[in-house]
């Protein structure tokens, strides 16, 4: 009898939790109609930048079509490629284009869906507001060690960079550092979030993060006179940008194709904009 009450209580609790999470949504969007009649599971894994967009899209789709299940994980661009290549997920997200070796080994197809800019970030109370590309390169390679050499106060520069697997780092390194070296003594953090925490806590810190992640806790540096804003990334005046890709193994199935089309549709584009990314057009 006791175990009956316990399991009944657990059932009630779970139902309450589920009801509170799946609230009333406005599901009158027409792109969702392309999912009618389809059912199945889509497993998605990969870059952490994509997660907020994918999560909202999945919620909208699953609410309108309960027969479709979508699961989303992170892990980074490398994990995304591996998982989709080995057939563990249907879509692998990357924040960088696929390498030749990856395409050759797994036979993957890429679908870019948004643009993301990478901004150089510093502490909001840092007196510097703008830097040139050359100054940024010197700072990150370790040849400039003090803020006073670039116009700030007399304090040592604390460098923060991302791990090797990071798509954000790859874009920053290719487009801004021109494939130059990053100092060995730079601290390595494992995500955009960790970068923000590190920089917002340290008055002498400098690092880089996706433009969509920049908020009031850090300050985005004006690069060569161009502010690191979404508008500038879109019109091409801010050079440090990358595309976000969805990758599938071979041609996507009907359900997966519908999901990809949804992300590229006006509703999907609105989601990208909401999280600080830019549509491709």
């Amino acid at each position: 009898m006791k175990s009956f009450y316990r399991s009944f209580g657990a059932f009630c609790f779970t139902t309450l939790v589920m009801l509170s999470v799946v609230g009333p949504e406005n599901v009158s969007a027409t792109s969702l109609d392309s999912f009618t009649g389809l059912e199945g599971t889509i497993a998605i894994a990969g870059g952490t930048a994509h997660i907020p967009v994918m999560n909202d899209a999945a919620k909208a789709i699953m609410t309108a079509h309960p027969k479709i299940r979508i699961t989303i994980e992170g892990g980074g661009s490398g994990i995304g490629v591996q998982k989709v290549g080995e057939g563990l997920v249907e879509i692998g997200n990357t924040g960088r284009p696929l390498s030749e070796a990856e395409i050759a080994k797994y036979g993957l197809k890429s679908f870019p869906f948004a643009l993301d800019g990478v901004a150089v970030v510093i502490h909001p109370e840092n007196s510097i507001s703008g830097l040139t590309s050359q100054q940024v390169r010197d700072i990150f390679s370790g040849s400039v060690l003090n803020w006073k050499d670039v116009g700030g106060k007399d304090a040592a520069i604390h460098l923060f960079t991302r791990d090797e697997a990071s798509g954000t780092r790859e874009v920053f390194w290719e487009k801004l550092l021109n494939k130059g070296t990053i100092a060995t003594a730079a601290n390595v953090v494992a995500s955009n979030g960790a970068m923000k925490v590190a920089v917002s806590q340290d008055k002498d810190a400098i690092g880089y993060a996706g433009i969509g992640h920049v908020d009031n806790s850090v300050k985005a540096v004006v690069l060569n006179g161009v502010a690191a804003s979404q508008e500038n990334a879109m019109n091409g005046s801010y050079p440090v940008v990358r595309k976000l890709y969805m990758n599938t193994k071979g041609e996507p199935s009907k359900l997966v194709k519908a999901f990809i089309d949804y992300i590229l549709s006006p509703e999907g584009t609105a989601l990208s904009l909401k999280y600080g990314y830019l549509p491709l057009k």
């Binding site: 892990g75 980074g76 661009s77 490398g78 994990i79 490629v81 591996q82 390498s99 070796a101 990856e102 080994k105 040592a156 604390h158 923060f160 791990d163 090797e164 697997a165 390194w173 494939k179 070296t181 060995t184 003594a185 730079a186 601290n187 390595v188 953090v189 494992a190 960790a194 925490v197 590190a198 806590q201 340290d202 002498d204 810190a205």
Partner: protein
């Protein structure tokens, strides 16, 4: 039966690691991986700085945690046997249940700014930050293992020492610690094992710069944090294969340290045996 299962499990992990490392066992690739520079963009995949970092952080954490652990054991076992002892033990038990990530998270917001202000040339993320937090992590392990052993010692030892006029601290120092010296080693090895295998604390606090630990305030990377950071990278690259080498090296390091400690403990001898009646 259980021993056989664990032995087989450990052996198979070792064999699997060696199997994945096989592509690396060509001379120039091996020398690439066993070098002192980690810079994937320049084609350098040396994991030795991370190896040094792992050893440095574990030995430092052990050195920081061991004296307080013995102190706590002395307090609990010999100096005060009543409520205070029970309270301390409960506290230590509670410490074992704190998730590693909570310790790391709290340290990021509390310890790192403190160290940054104290040593202004550093960023706060350094060897000493991680070692301090790691010592908090391994302290309960050492205390509990050693305390369990002390409790099992022949009570006649303590009674005889008391009768001969030893003060409690003298009893601990001249009678009980030598009698339990083997288990001091066991406790130290367990603490060291926990320290060297810990990923999150060094990932969040040590700075992760792939360089040789030059000073206590330098940013360093351990083998475990290295595996965590590089694991998500392009699986066809050399950097990824270095991850398997790191795993193998970690395994071998731990084994070597255990072996050395066991051998040195045997040398000091087993002069005081437990008396069974």
């Amino acid at each position: 039966m259980a021993t056989a299962v664990s032995a087989v499990a450990i052996l198979s992990i070792l064999l699997l690691l060696i199997y994945f490392c096989l592509p690396l066992f060509t001379w120039d690739r091996l020398s690439q991986v066993l070098s002192w520079h980690w810079q994937p963009v320049a084609g350098k995949f040396g994991i030795l700085p991370m190896c040094a970092g792992s050893l440095a952080i574990s030995i430092l954490a052990l050195a920081l945690a061991f004296p307080p652990a013995i102190g706590i054991c002395t307090l609990v076992h010999v100096l005060s046997r009543g409520l205070i002892a029970r309270f301390l033990l409960i506290l230590v038990h509670f410490m074992t249940s704190i998730p590693t990530v909570i310790l790391g998270f709290v340290s990021v917001f509390v310890l790192v700014p403190l160290l940054r202000e104290w040593h202004t040339a550093g960023t706060g993320f350094s060897l000493i930050t991680a070692a301090l937090t790691l010592s908090v992590l391994i302290l309960p392990t050492i205390v509990l293992v050693f305390h369990a052993r002390l409790e099992r010692l022949d009570p006649l030892l303590r009674l005889s020492a008391e009768a001969m006029g030893f003060t409690p601290i003298q009893q601990m120092r001249y009678v009980l610690l030598p009698a339990a010296s083997r288990d001091l080693v066991v406790a130290a090895v367990l603490g060291f094992g926990r320290a060297i295998g810990d990923t999150l604390i060094s990932l969040m606090l040590a700075g992760n710069a792939a360089q040789f630990p030059g000073s206590f305030f330098a940013s360093i990377r351990t083998l475990t944090a290295h595996i965590a950071l590089v694991l998500a990278t392009d699986s066809q690259s050399m950097a990824y294969q270095s991850v398997f080498a790191s795993g193998l090296l970690l395994f071998l390091l731990m084994g070597a340290f255990t072996f050395i400690l066991q051998k040195s403990a045997q040398k000091t001898g087993d002069r005081y045996r437990e008396k069974d009646f």
